[in-house]
């Protein structure tokens, strides 16, 4: 493999690994707050226990998210030094601010974790709220850098690469920052809600469950479903705005996402299928007439730019259409699923049937897949640029020949860690079953 390709694979897989844990790190504190609040309102011990058990899980996962985050932060400078040279001059502010968000999160997480029993209730809820704020802030700030790479702003660059006229705030508030940051945050919240729903559904599918356990897991499932339904709706609405932002700021990426070659009004939306280069169309897709124009500009006669407006070497890989469809498809599915489940419970007032629980079990992993697909779409859809229309990826990357050995070592590490974290989580929660903790807490 070419060194540049290896650098891209190494960074992409490191991010793909980090994002699993990071997303949970962003969303789980919110779920813990919800449980703490429910406990406050209902005075039901089950909610206190939920907060406690989720915190334990969080502590285990946090170790991996911090370690992998440290990896990506340093790898970014090591693998893409020419990129970081520009970042350092223009958009280092969010990186700096992010560190303070990390510090707040780290300090209050330790406090919540190791000193909870020595703190009054108010201070305890304040600590976990600060943890949640720190995590969300760090996600928003790092997304800012990513948004700036997609829609760069706040500087001029001359022929020889010299950067002038830096305006830190214009870079910070670049055109895609707002929508993108909201999209990332909402999708993280929604993902964690469905992950919790998955775990609760797995438990509820077990035959031999005491009524105590059954009632505990049902409560967890309901919190997750309400929050998940709300967040998945919000994610989709905001996702629509994100697509409109692409229409304005980076039509090339939207064209690649939709597999659109010719610039047209009344453009149709292709769902599914794959983009064929020879035939210049999306094959085996379901076509909804006029929908793409409407999505892009809220009117059926909106003109949507096609790929043929650009030279072919500036097209992103055409398979990004598939990635985009995976994200949107899963998003739509999860809205339907969570609303159906709530309908079942509140309108039909019936227990969940086995097949619905089974669907809920896969909802969490599906949401994670949507996150991965969305990010890969966003980063790969930016190719061949690392900073859109400013810095090509081939020039951003390192030329060091040590990348190969690092690639192998890191990939091995990620696989091992995925297994080991799963194993430790299972071990811990098996050793400390919920019933035992409940009686211990009461006693």
């Amino acid at each position: 493999m070419d060194i540049v390709v290896m650098a891209r694979v190494l960074f992409g897989s490191s991010m793909g690994f980090h994002i699993i844990y990071a997303t949970i790190g962003v969303g789980l504190p919110i779920m813990i707050i919800l449980a703490e609040v429910m406990y406050w309102i209902k005075k039901d011990e089950h909610y206190a226990l939920m907060a406690k058990r989720w915190t334990k899980g969080f502590a285990i996962l946090l170790a991996v998210s911090i370690a992998s985050g440290t990896i990506v932060a340093v790898l970014l400078s090591l693998l893409f030094p020419n990129f970081m040279e520009i970042v350092g001059q223009v958009i280092s502010l969010p990186f700096q601010l992010e560190i303070f968000a990390f510090l707040i999160e780290a300090v209050f997480m330790s406090i919540y974790l190791y000193a909870a029993d020595r703190l009054p209730q108010g201070l305890r809820v304040l600590s976990i709220t600060l943890v949640a704020m720190g995590a969300t802030a760090s996600a928003i700030l790092i997304t800012d850098v990513h948004a700036w790479m997609n829609t760069p702003a706040g500087f001029d660059i001359s022929e020889d690469g010299t950067i002038t006229n830096v305006n830190v705030w214009n870079a910070f508030f670049n055109p895609s920052f707002g929508v993108t940051a909201i999209h990332v945050t909402l999708s993280a919240y929604m993902t964690v809600a469905f992950l919790i729903a998955s775990i609760a559904a797995i438990r509820l599918m077990k035959r031999h469950l005491s009524s105590e356990e059954r009632s505990y897991h049902k409560k967890a499932l309901m919190i997750a479903l309400y929050f998940g339904a709300a967040m998945s709706l919000a994610t989709a609405i905001n996702g629509h705005e994100t697509a409109q932002m692409l229409h304005e700021e980076n039509p090339r990426k939207l064209a690649a996402a939709e597999g659109l070659f010719e610039t047209t009004r009344y453009a149709g939306l292709s769902i599914g299928g794959y983009t064929s280069l020879e035939d210049q169309e999306v094959k085996y897709a379901i076509e909804i007439p006029n929908a793409l124009s409407f999505l892009a500009g809220d009117r059926f006669d909106t003109e949507v730019i096609g790929l043929n407006e650009y030279p072919e070497e500036l097209w992103p890989p055409l398979y990004v259409h598939i990635l985009f469809n995976i994200m949107v498809g899963i998003g739509t599915l999860l809205i339907v699923l969570s609303l159906a489940a709530l309908f079942w419970k509140h309108v039909l007032k019936r227990e969940f049937p086995g097949w619905m629980l089974a669907l809920l079990v896969v909802s969490g992993p599906l949401a994670v897949i949507a996150i991965e697909a969305g990010w890969c779409f966003s980063c790969i859809g930016r190719q061949p640029w690392t900073i859109t229309d400013v810095l090509p990826t081939a020039e951003a990357a390192t030329g060091s020949s040590s990348v190969g050995i690092l690639l192998i070592s890191f990939l091995t590490l990620y696989v091992v860690l995925l297994f080991v974290t799963g194993f430790v989580m299972r071990y811990y929660f098996k050793r400390n079953p919920m019933e035992q903790e409940l009686t211990a807490g009461n006693g």
Binding site: A63, P81, G88, Q96, F102, I111, A115, L413
Partner: protein
């Protein structure tokens, strides 16, 4: 002060903070491993009790250092990135193993021993890797081939200065952590752990100083500029030695309770000692980041951006100080935490 000099001073300050926190953290991991199986002393418990809540904060300071380096000196990234890819990459790999295993050890008792040994050993290897970056910056181990910097691994790995640097890093790490954990045990009124750590501090102190002096003697010919600079500035290094002697002396003075050692004063003197030493080292290193190819002035960002970043730092730390005070009270002062069974 020139803005670039101010920036490099801040960078050395961050390095100093990370070196101190890192020594405590990695050192505590090592002592936790050594005394993990030993029922005679609670030294291992004390080390782990300190480590549990603090490693995250330590890790953040590592990230701060890297981010500050890139944002203050963006023009250094290309060269540093190419030279340090392999050593830093390997360091990251080990750091990840250490961090995750350390946390996992608290949640999977059955595998505790294995996990603790792994995190203890990496607690030695990581600092060794980190200090081995220092000789690279001094000159003689870098070659520019086709405009592209290459690290001469053959020369580096066979040169005694590398091993002296590593020995220096490790003895220092263990010395600092032993003195600190001695103070921490005193706060917890755990006298067996206190004696254990005092015993180690007593031999590690002089050894670390002797190795430090020997390290300068083994520096390669290309580093002559640096050695001259050190010898031309004996005051700061002398002052540092003075604080070492002071701190060491405090280990022998009897306190109010009749036990030997004024731990708190010893810790403070040792911290001051290393603070002075790092500044002395940093100023002797000027004007180079990497001799002779990379200078502080040449890799500096533009001053307007730099001053904006400074405001962010000042604001950020101002907000965080109350949080740190709360943290200190809960984990380093609170008897309920320190004395839990």
């Amino acid at each position: 002060m020139e803005p670039s000099i101010l920036a490099v001073t801040i960078l050395w300050t961050l390095l100093f903070i990370y070196a101190m926190l890192g020594s405590l953290d990695f050192g505590a991991g090592f002592w936790g491993m050594i005394y993990g199986k030993n029922d005679q002393t609670s030294a291992s418990q004390i080390a782990n009790r300190f480590l549990s809540p603090t490693w995250e904060v330590t890790n953040v300071f590592f990230v701060i250092f890297v981010v500050a380096l890139v944002s203050f000196f963006p023009f250094a990234t290309t060269m540093l990135g190419s030279l340090l890819l392999l050593p830093v990459g390997m360091g990251l790999l080990l750091l990840t193993i250490r961090t995750t295993f350390m946390v996992f050890a608290n949640h999977a008792n059955k595998y505790r021993d294995l996990l603790i040994i792994t995190s203890g050993l990496t607690g030695l290897i990581i600092p060794a890797l980190l200090v081995s970056m220092l000789p690279i910056t001094l000159g003689g181990f870098v070659e520019i081939v086709d405009d592209y910097p290459q690290l001469l691994y053959g020369e580096l790995l066979t040169h005694p200065t590398l091993y002296m640097h590593i020995a220096f890093g490790l003895t220092t790490e263990l010395f600092i952590s032993a003195v600190f954990l001695m103070d921490y045990s005193k706060e917890a009124e755990d006298w067996s752990a206190y004696q254990t750590y005092r015993k180690h501090a007593l031999w590690l102190g002089p050894v670390s100083i002797i190795i430090a002096i020997l390290t300068i003697e083994t520096m390669p010919a290309d580093a002559a500029w640096f050695v001259d600079s050190v010898k031309g500035n004996p005051i700061w290094f002398g002052l540092s030695l003075l604080f070492f002697l002071l701190g060491y002396a405090f280990l022998f003075i009897k306190g109010k309770n009749g036990r030997k050692g004024l731990a708190r004063l010893a810790v403070l003197s040792i911290i001051i000692q290393y603070g002075i030493a790092i500044y002395a080292y940093g100023s002797a290193h000027l004007p180079y980041l990497i001799y002779p190819d990379l200078t502080v002035g040449g890799s500096f960002t533009n001053p307007t951006v730099f001053y904006k970043l400074l405001i962010v730092y000042a604001g950020g730390f101002a907000i965080l100080i109350p949080a740190f005070i709360l943290f200190w009270r809960l984990f380093l002062k609170d008897q309920r935490y320190l004395k839990q069974p």
